[in-house]
Symmetry: C2
Subunit: 145 residues, 2 copies
């Protein structure tokens, strides 16, 4: 299973990164992830895959994946949760349900043609994070019922 994912990834192993089974396991999890995952989730999924990666190692791997630009870190709901996902080289933002914490992905981005008016006129914008919060379909109907 890990081998298959590695095969799908082909030769795209991050430059200069030593290939260890822990790193392959973490990358496999991130590639299969349907939503951003927190470190503990990643650890748990490597465990069910049959090749447990310790939590501290997960953090170390995430750190270097981020440094290499392979993964990105995002925090939602006022910093309560820190999650990670592969950098898919496209804008991807999420809406989070304040009630059940479901993460819903968004297909467009308000920053596409937006020029921020910044107090410090010479601020060079390099990127942005956007988080939308609200109530998902299920929780919304449950609440108003």
């Amino acid at each position: 299973m890990i081998e298959r994912d590695a095969a799908e990834r082909g030769s795209e192993w991050p430059d200069g990164m030593k290939k260890t089974k822990q790193r392959e396991a973490v990358l496999a999890v991130l590639e299969r992830a349907e939503k951003p995952l927190c470190a503990a989730d990643i650890r748990a999924r490597t465990e069910t895959d049959g090749s447990l990666v310790r939590l501290s190692t997960v953090y170390r791997i995430l750190e270097i994946l981020i440094k290499k630009g392979v993964a990105v870190k995002l925090s939602i709901l006022g910093g309560e949760t820190t999650v990670y996902e592969l950098n898919r080289f496209r804008h991807r933002h999420y809406a989070v349900c304040v009630s059940c914490r479901k993460i819903v992905s968004m297909d467009n981005c308000p920053m596409e043609r937006f020029v921020p008016k910044l107090e410090d006129g010479d601020f060079r914008v390099m990127g942005h994070n956007l988080e939308i919060y609200g109530s998902c379909k299920d929780c919304d109907t449950a609440g108003s019922r």
Copy 2:
């Protein structure tokens, strides 16, 4: 000093909130704040004001200010810092310098006339957080020099 701030705030004391000197001190700090502050900053500023509020109390006060909608919590730089500010009932977003962590405020908001395309069609958007990151004037010139 605290009295003066309280006077400026006038009768706007949050509904049903017991007025204690710790709460007045924290509100005074938030009112005078030129940028969002973390809990430890708030504690430190109450200390220099001459009425130290313990950190755990700061957190408790922030919690209820947020619940009452008087303050808001925001997290920047991927959750590394959690900061708080008064809810000024207008959109206020910030750009953060990735190098010196300076916080620069932004005068417009890309969400003003933006309709998100969400996978979960019935997601009810209640609000959003946006963080812009990049390089501030000082760090940018320092870096490219």
